[in-house]
């Protein structure tokens, strides 16, 4: 069983996989450093996760169980399409339960449930270079990385404080990996930044359009940039999840038909697991327990 007839296992040809695999091995050896790779044209446009898909295709094996999330949800277009893509081209098992997955490809979230050492998290990255909005020339940003000169980013954060009174960056919040490389964690909310630090799971990042892969090995120091008098802090909500009553998860604000609003967990698997365990919020009744 090799998936789609006429295609290699997991879509990519073997030479491409080898090239990406070699780049990934260097990426884990140099945590946070962006390794260039020969990004291939994929059967979907840039911006839809072509980098993440190429990383997943290169590491995926027949025994893997794949979970794909988009903004925390298993059921949104991007997640459904990528899951179906690998189901068809590699015939691998898929799941929406975080704890069952061996590979989790994600767009813009880290699951709420703690990951373990046997899992790999693959991030889809639109802009791998954290300083790209401050310095557009790659020749310059490469030199800044070589010199570990990240003053530019600190000035940007300082200007936020001067202008707004606090650091206004709320997603793709820059981090320093293993005390050396400044890294863009992809547009995850800064709420997820603490989960990058000392994660038991290997974290791989793929940027298809920008042709870069990078990695955070397990148990690696990841610090969010801040200042002594303006320490890093994550988002907090007044509300709890309207479906599962969680007060510790990242909440999405949903506008209701009647004009009201409710806050629900962005991680659909976390919310569903809590509801199945009997937690209920204000907007639903307890789940029916089938006899």
């Amino acid at each position: 069983m090799n998936g789609l007839p006429g295609y290699n296992f997991a879509y990519l040809d073997e030479q491409t996989k080898r090239m990406i695999r070699r780049a990934l091995l260097k990426a884990v050896a140099i945590p946070g450093y962006q390794v260039p790779f020969g990004s291939r044209e994929m059967p979907l446009p840039y911006g839809w996760g072509t980098g993440g898909i190429q990383v997943t295709a290169s590491i995926l094996g027949r025994k893997d169980v794949l979970k794909v999330i988009d903004q925390g949800s298993d059921d949104t277009t991007n997640a459904v399409n990528i899951r179906r893509f690998f189901n068809r081209t590699a015939d691998v098992a898929t799941t929406d339960r975080t704890e069952e997955a061996t590979i989790i490809q994600t767009r813009h979230r880290i699951p709420e449930k703690p990951l373990n050492e046997n899992q790999i998290l693959v991030f889809q990255v639109p802009l791998p270079e954290p300083m790209t909005r401050l310095e557009p020339h790659e020749a310059v940003t490469r030199k800044l990385h070589a010199l570990a000169d990240y003053g530019l980013m600190h000035v940007k954060l300082y200007e936020d404080i001067a202008r707004y009174g606090h650091i206004a960056t709320t997603y793709d919040y820059p981090v320093l990996v293993n005390g050396r490389y400044l890294m863009a964690p992809s547009p995850i909310p800064k709420f997820d930044n603490p989960k990058l630090h000392m994660s038991p799971a290997l974290q791989l990042f793929g940027a298809g359009r920008e042709k870069r892969v990078y990695a955070i090995p397990p148990w690696t120091r990841v610090e969010s940039l801040d200042f002594e008098d303006h320490p890093f802090s994550i988002q907090r909500w007044q509300q709890v999840c309207a479906l599962c009553d969680a007060d510790d998860s990242f909440l999405d604000e949903v506008v209701l038909d009647g004009g009201g609003r409710m806050f629900v967990c962005s991680d659909s698997d976390y919310c569903r697991t809590r509801q199945a365990a009997g937690h209920t919020g204000t907007e639903n009744t307890p789940m029916e327990v089938s006899a």
Binding site: R22, A29, S58, A146, L202, W219
Partner: protein
């Protein structure tokens, strides 16, 4: 290679049984070895490799090597050269600095780590990966810590030159430049990326 009968006398050994899936499994083990350094990983169902290649060395080169990856062999071997050229088409180079993958089969007489590609300040990934064949692994040895290691752990690597860990510290000192190492013995692999710190005492630091 000068004797045309030598190849006929020893027919070419087969490569990976199922190239697509076997190389994926080998790669995942190597990925795990480099992201969890100083931990013993074992490969299974490997094909026989021609001497001086250990089974895991051969599998790693088959899984990762192709026309883009120059390989340097410490001990030139016609059998290994023919096998590598046929199965993965790697160019074999005579200059250690040109190689992306380096096979060290006799660590005691190996060149210094600085003899291999160290990467560039702006492209530290352009450095060599050394596959070092050692005599074996034992539970007790130097203390390893760093990225990928939850709490410092020990592993002993047999068959290294007595000053090896001192030269590793020189390799650490130029981080993020430097080489990465895969120690191999038979079907076992232990990864040592440039990010790993080693604490040793001179008594246990060598052979």
């Amino acid at each position: 290679m000068n004797d045309p009968h030598s190849l006929l006398a020893s027919p070419l050994l087969p490569g990976l049984d199922d190239p697509v899936h076997d190389s994926q499994q080998v790669f995942r083990t190597l990925l795990s070895a480099l992201s969890s350094p100083a931990r013993l990983h074992t490969l299974s169902d490997l094909p026989q490799s021609p001497p001086p290649l250990h089974a895991a060395t051969g599998a790693a080169l088959l899984a990762l090597g192709d026309y883009e990856t120059p390989v340097w062999l410490q001990t030139p071997s016609d059998a290994a050269a023919a096998w590598l050229r046929f199965h993965c088409g790697v160019p074999l180079v005579s200059e250690p600095k040109q190689a992306q993958f380096v096979l060290i089969d006799r660590p005691l007489t190996m060149p210094p780590l600085s003899a291999f590609a160290q990467g560039l300040a702006e492209y530290p990934d352009r450095s060599a990966t050394l596959i070092m064949q050692v005599t074996g692994f034992v539970p007790d040895g130097p203390l390893f810590s760093g990225s990928g290691i939850a709490s410092a752990r020990r592993i002993g690597i047999d068959g290294l030159p007595h000053d090896f860990w001192r030269s590793w510290q020189d390799n650490r000192a130029i981080a993020p430049l430097g080489v990465d190492i895969l120690f191999v013995s038979g079907c076992s692999v232990v990864g040592l990326p440039r990010s790993t710190d080693v604490q040793y005492n001179t008594a246990s630091g060598g052979d």
